[in-house]
Amino acid sequence: MNAFFREHKAQAALVDSLFFIAIISALGTGLFYFAINYGLSSEELLNSFYSSDFTTDALKVITYVNITRDGEIVKADRVVNSTDEFDYLFAMIKEDYAENSKKEVKITLPTQKNIAKTLYEVLKPFDSSFDYAFFISKEGGVQGEQNFLVMILALHKYQPEESDPSKMVTREYYSCRPKFSNVIEKYIYPSVGSLDSSFGRISLCENSGTCSSFLIGINIWVSKSVEIFNKINEGDDTEFVCTKLEGIVKEVN
């Protein structure tokens, strides 16, 4: 028996080494997996900080900038006329709400256009990359109840049949009156994958002095061609109930 083991010593060592390489492979795979996945969640978190900062900044800037009563935004290197009257977008929204709080449309079309123009100017450098929705809604509105005071949707319209390449993608603005309060979560979020949002709270008062609290928010997402947007662009959607705001980009430029 002893003589047998002495003769097969090398084969035992070979099996040991094969076990060794199996253990090393398992360890190597584990390390490789760790290297690939390390920091991904932290990176995602940091990116979400950036997205959150970006949307919050956008929402704040919309409320800060001065615009004329016609919705024109002053440029840094321009001269303005002494007759131009500058105001904040929210001053116009508050005026509209105070005057029309008993009517069905509380924010008038000129103010809706001013909101769209301000959105366009503030997010102009990123215009080719993003689509967005700005809204003011009743705070604590019941799900299913129509509770949007105003919703401005900015979408890219793809027109592949257009011969001029510069006109194949155009920026369109819509004023929407969705039937349900959760339309963004229900229709936009699943389609675009990632949605960056920022919200604030404002108080709007009626002429009688009764004030209500409203939620103001902006949702920004990477521009994509999805079914719901194509429906809105073609004017046959039933969820958002949108009306196209004409000439926003042309008027601003």
Partner: protein, 194 residues
């Protein structure tokens, strides 16, 4: 003689088992070094991102810059913190083509006091008239021993933020030169590198 049948030698006898052992060790140490490098690189990247977020938040404040002095004061406070990364921050008007900002940064050369000493391109930063003359909304910090951004061959991170800036705007009147302070939309661009 019977017990020494097939014996080649002390090493020769173990040669078939040595090959997988050496291969295993080579594989293990290769993966170990790769993992260590990736770990370090990702840590550097995450720290750079963290610092960038902090610096950007502090410079922006409440997303509103009231004047150049305020911007410059915030910028100088940032420099005192001695970050382990270099950064450049510039504010542009809302007409800027964000895809060309990085080329403008690459064309800038800074002195020991983090001021621009030369540029390959015309500046397109937002400026403001102050008592000390025209000043640009530009802030830079070159860490001790750090290289210029133009010489940087390693990774960098760039970010853009919408921001509002209060600017003195000339008013067109028939007889007097009047100025009105209005808030305009702008973009803050920031690049961080090692």
């Amino acid at each position: 003689m019977l017990s020494r049948k097939g014996f080649i030698g002390p090493i020769g006898d173990d040669l078939p088992s040595l090959i997988p052992i050496v291969t295993g060790l080579v594989i293990f140490f290769s993966v170990f070094v790769l993992t260590l490098n990736t770990y370090n690189e990702k840590n550097v990247f995450l720290e750079r991102q963290m610092d960038m977020t902090t610096v950007a938040r502090d410079i922006k404040g409440d997303s509103l810059i009231l004047n150049w002095s305020q911007f410059n004061h915030r910028c100088n406070e940032m420099k005192l913190r001695r970050y382990p990364y270099s950064f450049m921050i510039a504010i542009y008007n809302n007409e800027v083509d964000v895809t060309k900002v990085i080329d403008e940064f690459k064309g800038l050369y800074l002195d020991d006091y983090d001021s621009i000493i030369s540029s390959e391109n015309e500046f397109s930063f937002l400026g403001q008239k102050t008592d000390e003359g025209n000043k640009n909304f530009f802030c830079s910090y070159l860490r001790v021993g750090g290289r210029e951004f133009s010489e940087n061959k390693r990774q960098y991170t760039v970010r853009f933020y919408p921001i509002a800036v209060q600017q003195p705007i000339g008013v067109n009147t028939s007889n007097v030169n009047a100025t009105q302070f209005l808030i305009v939309p702008a973009v803050m661009a920031m690049v961080v590198w090692e």
